[in-house]
């Protein structure tokens, strides 16, 4: 009895296309809220940069442009492998999808490793979030972004395991695509953070 009704509760028949387009719409809406979340920080950035242009020009020299550039390349490349992964599963190639997801995950971990080196370099120079407004912004923006990388990695790892288990096919691959959207957002936000923090001339 219990068993039957539990099944029933998950089993309301949704048209597969409706389910697919619902998931995509839902994810896009959620990504919109993520942008607004960062939007608050971008607004703070704009206000304080207008207020203290010299501080930003001077203190951003402390940031390691090379490492930032490497991380940018890593994330852009990971977005490529993610997009390829989505295309692969739509063509039913499960093994290829798994490999591409794995490459994406490795890129994400690489990004985290570089960020770790950067943060420890800052700490060793006694630069902390309360050092100045600029470094508050630096740590908060990259920190919140790092949190999103971490969540993205969890999503990707789940997708990787489910792909290995053969849950996704050419017919049903919504989670891979929707998870991919999230990963692209993580990439996109970094593409704005990098010039705003590292490349102030």
């Amino acid at each position: 009895m219990e068993q039957a009704s539990v099944e029933h509760s998950h089993g309301h028949q949704m048209d597969p296309y409706v389910e697919y387009s619902s998931s995509k719409l839902g994810m896009w809406l959620f990504l919109g809220t993520e942008i607004l979340l960062f939007g608050g920080l971008f607004a703070a950035y704009a206000i304080f940069r207008a207020k203290y242009p010299e501080m930003f020009a001077e203190q951003h020299e402390e940031l390691n442009k090379q490492m930032g550039a490497i991380n940018t390349c890593i994330l852009i490349f990971s977005s490529l492998t993610m997009a390829m992964g989505v295309t692969a599963i739509k063509r039913g190639k499960q093994k290829l999808t798994a490999i591409l997801l794995l490459v994406t995950i490795i890129c994400g971990l690489g990004f985290g490793a570089v960020k770790y080196l950067e943060y420890s370099a800052k700490f060793s120079h006694h630069i902390y979030p309360d050092t100045s407004i600029f470094f508050s912004l630096y740590f908060l923006m990259t920190g919140l972004h790092m949190l999103h990388v971490f969540i993205g990695l969890l999503i990707l790892a789940t997708m990787f395991v489910l792909t290995l288990k053969g849950k996704f096919t050419a017919e049903y691959n919504t989670p891979v695509e929707v998870g991919g959207l999230y990963w692209h957002l993580v990439d996109l936000i970094w593409i704005y953070l990098f010039p705003l923090l590292y490349l102030i001339a």
Partner: protein, 537 residues
């Protein structure tokens, strides 16, 4: 056991299953709606008791019942609980959950599991807030800096709880938008949607657009306290006004998150009990979206005395007056719907009429506060307290209670005692006005809010307000007792006690799991009263 085949023909109400797990693990939108309803009602009662304590303290000029610090804690908790734990999730999450799928002819929301997840996140947020009570904050519900960064009470946990609640709000809003876009029954076109759906849609958009901003604001406040970040601290080059800008960018739209669902409720109840098609359907529908849009452009009207430039203040004052237009459109259309209707004064209709009357007072007094010169005098006085309670109790709570009385038979399958409900309405209406109307005078005479003590010349108005709060409390108690007794002793509710044309009344009371035996085909809007009767069959 294995009666899958006949299961389709046997009517099993969604309330049938028992046991705590059947609730905590349910994905049925009607059950999730009940869980929200119970949770928000709990916080409504708790925060209401805190308000009664405050009023009791204000019975006499001296601070004799609680210490001034305790009083600060009381109004902080009263405000935070009412705003973030009761009224923001309030109607939108409880009745939104229950009604949206039923009204658009869907078996459930678009993401039932996520819907349950949102409720758990809400619970998590409340849990965090409860831990914060060990050293409750005394900042007021707005958490203004610099005080909120320097007080030694637990601001971090309370704001973190609110931050977590924000997630729940975002996910619910997203779920509802997708549901309304993708799950409408065949023939349920946008212009046939019940107005409550339009209101929920506008509310959900606000939840998505505004909540992330308060999220990041509170996060910044938390980092300010934990990592010594200085965005709001002038000593470190920051600006406390920035906090106010950020905070109100969310919290002003949030006012409309609180009120728009109630407006949707009123638009549903009035045509049913006036037996007339709603007047100005499209005007009401689009004015919800209009309010949602304008609400993002008025936040600085909370800051006229905070030191913003007079140009900015003038612009924000003008934009503030614009909100009156879509709001007035609604009120005029409701009144036009009532005109020459054959009105039945069901208890839910009384709450709706109470809404129109009280909300209009609340709205009009808002114009005084939006006017720059008047606001200098009235800012942070009891006038503001009275204004906001006329909008929030006179508006949202009236709408909430109206919704509760209107959909009670459908939701719980029982009838309550209508006479007692009317008496309770009368007590609430009188009690509310006696409590808050004197506060307009107190404000005009210059009594500032948030003080535990006051000069003796205000004693008569202050004590009158306190007596009113007792009537209000008795009214609330009678109302709640009546509804609770109805759950156990009430008669069984018929399918459609009010002869409503809306889809939710075309299924049994309480509705079965997944709502409709067959997804309905909609051929007309839901407000065709006084013309045809065939859809009752």
């Amino acid at each position: 056991m294995a009666n899958h085949t006949i299961a389709h023909n046997v009517y099993v109400p969604f309330l049938e299953k028992k046991g705590i797990l059947s609730w905590l693990l349910t994905t049925d939108h009607k059950r999730i709606g009940i869980m929200y309803l119970v949770s928000i009602s709990f916080f409504f009662v708790v925060a209401g008791i805190l308000a009664l304590l405050m009023r009791l303290e204000l019975l006499t000029p001296a601070s004799d019942i609680v210490s001034p610090h305790t009083y600060n804690v009381l109004f902080t908790l009263h405000g935070s609980l009412m705003v973030f734990f009761f009224i923001v999730p309030g109607l939108a999450a409880s009745f939104g959950n229950f009604l949206i799928p039923l009204m658009i002819g869907a078996p459930d929301v678009a993401f039932p599991k996520l819907n349950l997840g949102s409720y758990w996140i809400y619970l998590l947020g409340t849990l965090i807030m409860l831990i914060a009570l060990s050293k409750p904050a005394d900042t007021g519900w707005t958490f203004y800096t610099p005080y909120s960064t320097t007080t030694d009470t637990d601001v971090v946990l309370l704001t973190f709880g609110v931050f977590v609640l924000g997630f729940s709000s975002i996910l619910t809003g997203m779920n509802f938008i997708v549901t309304i876009h993708k799950m409408r029954a065949p023939g349920m076109t946008w212009h046939r949607l019940p107005l409550f759906i339009w209101a929920s849609y506008a509310t959900s958009i606000l939840q998505l657009l505004a909540t992330p901003v308060v999220g990041i604001t509170l996060l910044l406040l938390i980092t300010e306290r934990t990592f010594g970040v200085g965005f709001f601290d002038p000593a470190k080059g920051g600006d406390p006004i920035l906090f106010q800008n950020f905070f109100w960018f969310y919290s002003h739209p949030a006012v409309y998150i609180m009120i728009i669902p109630a407006m949707g409720v009123i638009s549903e109840i009035i045509p049913v009990f006036a037996r007339k098609p709603i007047f100005g359907y499209k005007a009401i529908a689009y004015s919800s979206l209009g309010i949602a849009f304008i609400s993002f452009l008025v936040w600085a009207h909370h800051m006229f005395t905070s030191g913003i430039s007079s140009l900015a203040a003038t612009i924000f004052s003008f934009l503030t007056f614009l909100v009156a237009i879509p709001t007035a459109i609604k009120v005029f259309n409701w009144v036009a719907t009532l005109y020459k209707g054959s009105i039945q004064l069901h208890s839910s209709m009384l709450y709706s009429l109470g809404f129109i009357f009280l909300f209009t007072i609340g709205g009009l007094t808002g114009l005084f506060l939006g006017a720059l010169a008047a606001d200098i005098h009235l800012h942070d006085t009891y006038f503001v307290v009275a204004h906001m309670h006329y909008v929030m109790i006179g508006g949202t709570v009236m709408g909430f209670l109206g919704a509760l009385h209107f959909w009670y038979p459908k939701w719980f399958g029982k009838m309550f005692n209508e006479t007692v409900a009317k008496i309770a309405w009368f007590l609430i209406f009188i009690g509310f006005n006696v409590t808050f109307f004197p506060q307009f005078f107190l404000g005009v005479e210059g009594m500032p809010r948030r003080y535990a003590t006051y000069p003796p010349q205000f004693e008569s108005l202050m004590s009158l307000s306190t007596y009113g709060s007792w009537i209000l409390a008795i009214g609330m108690f009678v109302m709640a007792a009546n509804l609770l007794v109805g759950l156990f002793r009430g008669e069984k509710a018929p399918q459609n006690p009010y002869n409503s044309l809306s889809l939710e009344w075309q299924v049994p009371s309480p509705p079965p799991h997944e709502n409709f035996e067959e997804i309905p085909h909609v051929t007309d809007w839901t407000y065709g009263y006084g013309k045809k009767k065939e859809s009752e069959a």
